[in-house]
Amino acid sequence: MDGPEPKPIPAYYCCYLLRSTVRHASLYIGSTPNPIRRLSQHNGVAKGGAKRTARDKLRPWEMSLVVEGFMSRVSALQFEWAWQHPEKSRHLEPEDESKAKVNVDPKTGKPKAKPRSRARRSLTAHLEDLHSLLRSTCFSSGPLRVRFFRADVYRVWRAWNDRVDSRLPPNIKIILDGDNLATVPNAKQTGEIEPAGCINNLSVDYTRLEDYLEKSMFMLEDPDDLQCTVCKKPVIPTADQIVVCPHSNCRGTSHLLCLSSKLLDATGEPDLLVPTRGTCPLCKNAVQWPTIMRELTFRNRAEKEACAILRKKDKRLRKESAAEIISAAQGTRGTSIEPRTQLEEPAQDELSSNWFEQLDLESDSDFEGRQKHHSNDPPSKLEVVIEDSDWDDAELVE
């Protein structure tokens, strides 16, 4: 990591399959850290939508499904690209090996570019590719989740699943959401894996990490009496990568490598390099490795943002405790946004990579997320959107 300071694991990053509600055959694959914003862009509500989705005839668009849980923007973009270009992707090659052999270019000896993807790929084709991508070695081990918002899309998916011999790896979860659900779940109480009811209810920020983050930061502020739960050595948060048990009442801390090796050993798979889950050595509760890492990276790599989040939380709590009216909350929110952005900008080493962080951070505030859900504030959103738009385009290009 020579270059710029590494970024924390994004709070949320997803690839989505966009579908025109007017013409269901019109599909679009994209990726975004903030599907809520992105969808509004696609629908022209906000600036920065992809050109392909700009035709009024096809609007509004809907996110028929999202693949979420990417632990890095790069990973998401790679997934997106592979999904968009299944004929070129290495990740899809293994399956098509037999075909690829047939298509070897006799002149160059290199595998021919697989037949140009159909100008318009069908939903089934996309789901096929998605299925095989999720089974590919590169993505099968990741903590990915597929969230279906449309029942008809899910039916196609199911049909395809029945036809495919191989199954998805168990760690990839299928979440039925949207109109797949009989009842709309409570948006505020949804967990990461649970259905949100609609895209707007997705939690795309670090809100979930708030408590975890607050606890770990509080604990590590005074690390003198802390020691690694594995190696029993003192932890030095300023120097080492210290992970904290995500459970609120557990004070377990450990070195990253200590805990990982412990968890890896527990799996009994010597070749495994990243555990997916395990049990906290101290509290013996099950822990999700991605969650720990998300918190760790955010805490270590985005301290200011972490602090801002905590401050916001305090503010919010204070305001809530003050029982202020929603309007007042909006006012505070408006004010809160600005300082965040200001805080974030100086911290940005990489302009390019910052955008989503900003978004994430902004969205981190509970206010925003909730406000977005509850009441739409066009002005604030628009501002945000404008900033994002450039980056979205860049995304598309990639």
Binding site: K110, Q241, S260
Partner: protein
Amino acid sequence: MANTADVIILSSSPNPPRSPGLAAQHEIKAPDTFPRSTTPTPAPAAKAKPAKPATRSRYFATPSAADKNNENAKQPRTRVSRKAAPPNSDDQSIASRPKAKRTTNKPLSIGPGDPPVEDAGTNTNTPKQSKCRPKKTAKSKAAANMTLAGKVTKTGGDPPPKNASKRAKKTTKTDTESPEDCTEIPASEESNALRKDEALHLDEALRRRVDWTPPRETLCGDIAVMCDDNSQNEGGAGPNGTLGFGKSLSDYNYIGNALNPRDLIKKSTSEAPTKRRRIDLVDPLVQPAVNEKPDSFDQALGQDQGVAGKAKKTTNSKPKKFTTLTARMTAQYAIDDEQEDEPTAEWAPEVKPTKSRRSKAKEAAQDPRFTILSPEAAVEFVNDQDLVFGTCSQLEREDSPQTMREMQQAIRASEILAYSEGIRDPPNSPGAMQGPTVRSVSKLTGTRNLWCVASRDTEGSLVQAKAQNVIDLTDQVESPRKDLEKVNANSRQTLPDNWYEHAFADIDPTPEKKALPSTMIKESSASVQQAQVTLPSHAPALAPASDVKGIATESTKGTGSDSTEAVNHQAVGPKVPVMPNYAGFTDAELSKQVSTFGFKAVRGRKKMIELLRQCWESKHGSNTPVCENINHTISQSVEIPKLSSRSKHTTKTRPPAATTLVEGSNETNIAVSQARTSIQTSPQRQTRDKSATSNSTSFLDIEEIQDSEEEITPSPSHVQKHHNEISSRNKAAKGVIKHSLNILTKTPPQSPTKRKVVSSKPSVTKKVNSTSSTCKAISRVSKFSERVCLADISTQITKAVRMQPRSSSLGSRIHPTWHEKILMYDPIVLEDFTAWLNTEGLGLVGEDFEVGTASVREWCESKGICCCWKKNASW
């Protein structure tokens, strides 16, 4: 119409014994020479005349008057046309028209005994014949161009004067009646004025209509008729006759579609009909069986062309060849090849390449004998035959079969020289013939293209020259054959030979040819065989090598340029150890190289170079011994012949060089492996470079030549490749290399010939083959090695990652270990990670090999670790 009529005639014709056919043929040979025909004609004509009127009278109401009229009309014609004929005026007048000639001819040959009988038979047949005749007459009219003036030609507006002559022959066969008919018919044609013949006019009109559009058809019909007649006349021709009939039908269909531009051209170019006719007649007699089958095909072609005799010959030879898509595709270039060859031959007088090629072509023509193989032989050929896979275009690119053959022959010759000198084993080892040479030949099949030429120019390398030299050698060896072949070839057309070669190059021609030359020149063939045999004997390693060859052939066969690969291996062997100078590569080349290593194209030249270096290093370190051995053996086998061929040219240098090569190859298995790796990187170039750059010492001349060629048609990539390869080669300084270099250096003296040769096909083929095949081979090898290595590498990398000590001093938070990065789902920058692995990581595990980013990426993806290139690392 005409066809049908002809067919009928044919049916009737069988009655006349062969002799008439022969006579007819002779006549045909000298159709223009009226005196001959006329001289014999008078008597037969006289005989015929009486019959003629009768026949017509029987069938046609107005024969006599028509005849008279015709005669009247004819006489002036005949007079004009026949200067010598005047005494026979009446008969001659009839004879003057082609049919009349025919009639005369028949009587001449067959006539004396048969005429009355024939007449009777014909009379019985006459109704049909008469019908046919008018048709024929139309044809004959066309033929009239030959014999008579333009009246006939009107109908004949059609091209086929020759056909007409043939028809005339046919008609003669048909009997005396035909002349009458002919006369009548022309009369009818002429005779719009002739009231009596009006009925005939109608027929003619119909015929004309038919004839108008498709002159070819008429030609075909004529040809078919001719063949039939000949065959029928000839005792052995019976099948031919049947074939002819069937052919006429089939041809009728075929003609429309199958007109081959080449054939047309060739035939059109073909000389005067008379000569052709003679040849044709002779050929069927001499080679009835062979010609028969092809006839249908040939006939179709011949018909198209309208040149009966040559067309027949050509057709005969051609039909033997298989008509595959590739053959058709490649056939178009056959002419060019020949042409090219000839000039090249001219260029290199000493080498005599043209002769060899020509002789080869001739040989191919002669080959038809060989073409018919016993089932066993056919099976053998099939087994021995190397399969060339590829699209037509690809095959086209690659060298023509001829060049392949030549190459092989040259290789053999060189082997003979080198090995025979060094070690003389039993001269004739039958097995040697087929094995490697055949394979290589088949692999290289293809025709030259403009592309090939261009490529060769850019690459301009010794290899090409060598190939040419090889050809020369073959020529020398084959010279006796050539003579024989030439004789045969004279009878046969070269074109069909080429066809045949193209079609069968893989299978038959080479072995057959070889066999022939071996018989012809026992010593040479023996020496070649010896050389082949000696190869295994020479090197203990080589004995397994033969087995290895079999194995290797699989890989090489697929590529299609085994020999080239082998050459590459040789060249590479020494070069390999040295990493190619990627800095010298163009971006395109770099990207190619990168792709060769299995990486996606990387932006940025530096990155690509870096990547390539890493890849090369990793590959270099990761070669598996087995593969090396195989390659080694292969390379040895291939190398030796090539080298020997080269050495042959140099003659003096050969034996030592070959021996040294073999020894060196055995000794330097490692070098071979290295070479393999290098081959993977740049096989094509290496071969060329070898020859060209092989070593600066003796190669200066050669190099210069190459450079000049390159300059002529510089393709930046090729040039760069050359330079890179050269540089890499130069860098590599191993004993083996030296050996090869010495050999190579010896070759350079040939430079004059080489220069000439450079333009020749072989170089082109090598280049082409090397490009495609080598790439394939390389990719295969690389894949194989990579797979072998990857299992190891993967586990080792995993170990290394987990063994990386925590950087307690600096603090893992600022400088996380790779495992920590992985744990934190950081995208792994492949360049950095690979660098770390190569510098530290693998050292932790006790491995001294280096990995490339490609393998590292594969490892990452297999672990589900997000990895990316540095440029994309802004996550």
